[in-house]
């Protein structure tokens, strides 16, 4: 039996005067999933989100929550529905006459029966998680745009909502913090199990944490499905939006997007003779959650970024190409190397990463955590040899299965 959607749009149309923003939009959002809406600016993504929380009403069509049209809800049903949702605005919508702490504590103060100390404890916990402790008593105008974004995130999550609507949560953040915020959303989703609806342009990063993607194009939803299915989506949207965003992403990180990575290895392997082999390396960063929790989300992202940079630098020089496959996993293909040669390249990489990469990370951690704080992480790599006639997915799986540690960090001691 098909799972009942938590929220469903049925032929929703919205006009502002003569201008039609949404024209018969239909899609579904399922409980416990992260659904990301992507599309060009000004195509109605925020308008779509505002319909969910009732800030806008559709001119035609209906929005259903657990099968019930929200416009037919009684006052108590509506209050219960809205009470489950939290909304993070694109421009933050922080109260400029209140401090960061007061902003975060505001929903608790007015919609719960918690005492002053409980409110303070809860609000400060969220402020600490979003790394805003030092600016908790500053006004929004006194902090940076990125900090304001995180304050808005803290306010959106402080009531432990079941559904969170994020309107471009990573806009204006540097690459580290951008991934830190996405990581935070993924982590909270894992811990609390909320349903998230995101608007984001951070492709492909946002795909790592998304269960479903909705593509808004020309006033309609033209794609609804998993990020993997998006790869094979044949539509002008794909060329115009994904292509440009992926190119931008590649410029920033130097790593291939997963779609371009796929195209590249298909092209490379098609050129090879049936007997020529290639090597696949899978790098993974274990205990990422522990680093995020113990040190900071930024530190976890810094580690990943550092690893990504070393991978790109080393393997790119010998004709390899790499991508970030999941939130904590990188894949590299060495198209001209057999297993023996790949092993030699990897040994050089390991030495360099242990000498320099880990030292940089150690210095970062020392700056951010107290001396007595203890945490571990592990970077492992697996290697496998592939041939053009063998499915690459099975080669990757084999490499994943064969992973061995190349660098560890145990209670502040790097090895």
């Amino acid at each position: 039996m098909e799972q009942q959607p938590l929220i469903e749009f049925r032929n929703v149309t919205k006009r502002f005067g003569e201008r039609t923003i949404l024209n018969g939009v239909s899609f579904r959002i399922y409980e416990g999933e992260v659904t990301t809406i992507i599309g060009l600016s000004g195509t109605g993504k925020s308008v779509t989100l505002k319909h969910i929380i009732g800030l806008l009403k559709p001119d035609a069509g209906e929005i259903l929550y657990q099968g019930k049209p929200i416009h037919r809800m009684s006052r108590s049903e509506w209050n219960a529905y809205i009470g489950r949702i939290s909304y993070m605005f694109q421009n933050n919508a922080l109260f400029d006459s209140m401090t960061v702490y007061e902003n975060v504590a505001l929903p608790l103060k007015h919609t719960t029966r918690l005492g002053r100390r409980q409110i303070e404890a809860k609000a400060m916990a969220r402020i600490e998680q979003t790394e805003l402790t030092e600016v908790a008593h500053k006004y929004p105008s006194e902090i940076s745009g990125g900090m304001q974004k995180r304050a808005a995130l803290a306010r959106a999550l402080v009531t432990d909502p079941q559904i969170v609507l994020f309107d471009e949560p990573t806009t204006g953040q540097d690459p580290i913090r951008k991934n830190a915020i996405l990581g935070m959303i993924a982590e909270y989703k894992k811990k609390v199990g909320f349903t998230a609806v995101l608007i984001s342009h951070e492709i492909p990063d946002v795909f790592f944490i998304s269960n479903r993607i909705l593509a808004l194009w020309d006033k309609k939803i033209v794609f609804e499905g998993t990020p993997e299915a998006m790869e094979d989506f044949n539509h002008p949207f794909h060329d115009e939006i994904l292509h440009s965003l992926e190119n931008l992403q590649e410029d920033i990180t130097g790593l291939y997007s997963s779609r371009h990575f796929k195209i590249r290895y298909q092209t490379e392997l098609a050129r090879r003779g049936a007997v020529e082999s290639y090597a696949v390396l899978i790098f993974s960063f274990d205990n990422m959650d522990e680093v995020s929790a113990t040190v900071s989300h930024d530190a976890a992202q810094q580690t990943l970024r550092s690893l990504g940079n070393y991978i790109r630098k080393h393997f790119g020089a010998v004709g390899g190409f790499s991508t970030r496959q999941t939130i904590n996993e990188f894949t590299t293909i060495l198209p001209f190397s057999d297993l023996e040669e790949a092993r030699r390249i990897l040994d050089k990489f390991t030495t360099d990463f242990q000498e320099h990469g880990m030292r940089e990370l150690e210095e970062t951690f020392r700056r951010e955590i107290p001396a007595d704080q203890c945490f571990d992480f592990l970077i492992s790599v697996g290697m496998a040899q592939g041939k053009p006639q063998v499915e690459i997915e099975s080669v990757m799986e084999f490499a994943r299965f064969d992973q061995k540690p190349i660098a560890t960090f145990q209670c502040g001691v790097r090895r």
Binding site: I53, F89, A93, L94, F95, D96
Partner: protein
């Protein structure tokens, strides 16, 4: 009708029948204006009622106190200044006029009744409009265009209860107190100019005030100040709250125009309602 959405007031197309398009073209703007006025007054009434009923909640107390400080205490100095000079001018002018009729002994009566019955409530309300009303419109307007009001809605905090109710409560407290303060300072100003500077009798001035000012005069002044409080706060908050629905401007420009409209409209309504209330009280 939801208070967050004002009715659409598109002009009605001219009727192709009857006396033809000329008559319709003449009457159409009046009709549109009438409908718009009716709708706005209706929306304002709903706005006021919904905000008023949310005053009576214990969580409002700190915010009401803070608004009393902003509307009342912070306006006291400017009200005192205006009251003092108004009283002084009254003292001078009335001394000059009464001296012609040999009725300088009634200076205290003229100054006190003018202030208590008329000038006190009106000028106090105008001063509060200029100082606090305009600030309220601008503040609420900025909160509207920066989506802070929408943020309240998404947090299940009623923006009317949170933003408007404390201001209404504070105005209802502050206006009469500031009016009384204005009257008192004005009478002192009249004493300074009429008695000390111009040489009218001090005893006659104070005796006439005591003899001629009745409770009905004071009550009338307070009734006016309460009416003005309701009008000023409703107009100023309403203009700020619905600044995003203006058709003549957007963004920060709409906030500035809303502020101007709020001040002008409040001052006009103070004078209009002053006449209406006075005619009922007399």
């Amino acid at each position: 009708m939801a208070v967050d959405q004002l009715p659409d007031n598109e002009p009605v197309p001219a009727s192709p029948t009857g006396r033809g398009p000329i008559l319709a073209a003449i009457l159409n703007p009046f009709g549109c204006f009438g409908i718009r006025l009716n709708n706005t007054l209706g929306a304002m009434t709903i706005f006021l009622c919904r905000a008023f009923i949310q005053i009576f909640h214990y969580k409002q107390i700190p915010e009401i106190i803070s608004q009393i400080y902003f509307i009342g205490a912070k306006s006291a100095s400017i009200v005192a200044l205006v009251g003092f000079f108004t009283g002084m001018v009254l003292g001078l002018q009335l001394y000059y006029v009464m001296n012609k009729f040999g009725a300088v002994g009634f200076l205290g009566t003229a100054v006190s009744l003018s202030l208590i019955r008329e000038l006190g409530p009106v000028l106090t309300a105008i001063m509060i409009t200029a100082r606090a009303g305009s600030a309220m419109t601008a503040e609420i307007g900025i909160q509207r265009i920066s989506e802070q009001i929408d943020a309240l809605t998404t947090m299940r905090i009623d923006p009317l209860g949170y933003l408007i109710s404390p201001r209404i409560a504070a105005a209802l407290v502050s206006f009469p107190i500031l009016t009384a303060f204005f009257d008192l300072i004005g009478i002192l100003g009249g004493y300074l100019s009429g008695v000390i500077l111009m040489g009218a009798s001090s005893g006659a001035y104070t005796y006439r005030i005591d003899a001629s000012v009745e409770w009905l005069d004071v009550r009338g002044g307070f009734i006016k100040s309460i009416v003005f409080a309701v009008l000023v706060i409703t107009i100023c908050c309403f203009q700020g709250y619905f600044t995003h629905l203006r058709r003549d401007s957007y963004g920060s420009k709409s906030v500035s125009l809303s502020t101007t409209s709020a001040v002008v409209l409040s001052c006009v309504m103070i004078l209009v309602s002053d006449y209406v209330v006075t005619s009922f009280l007399l």
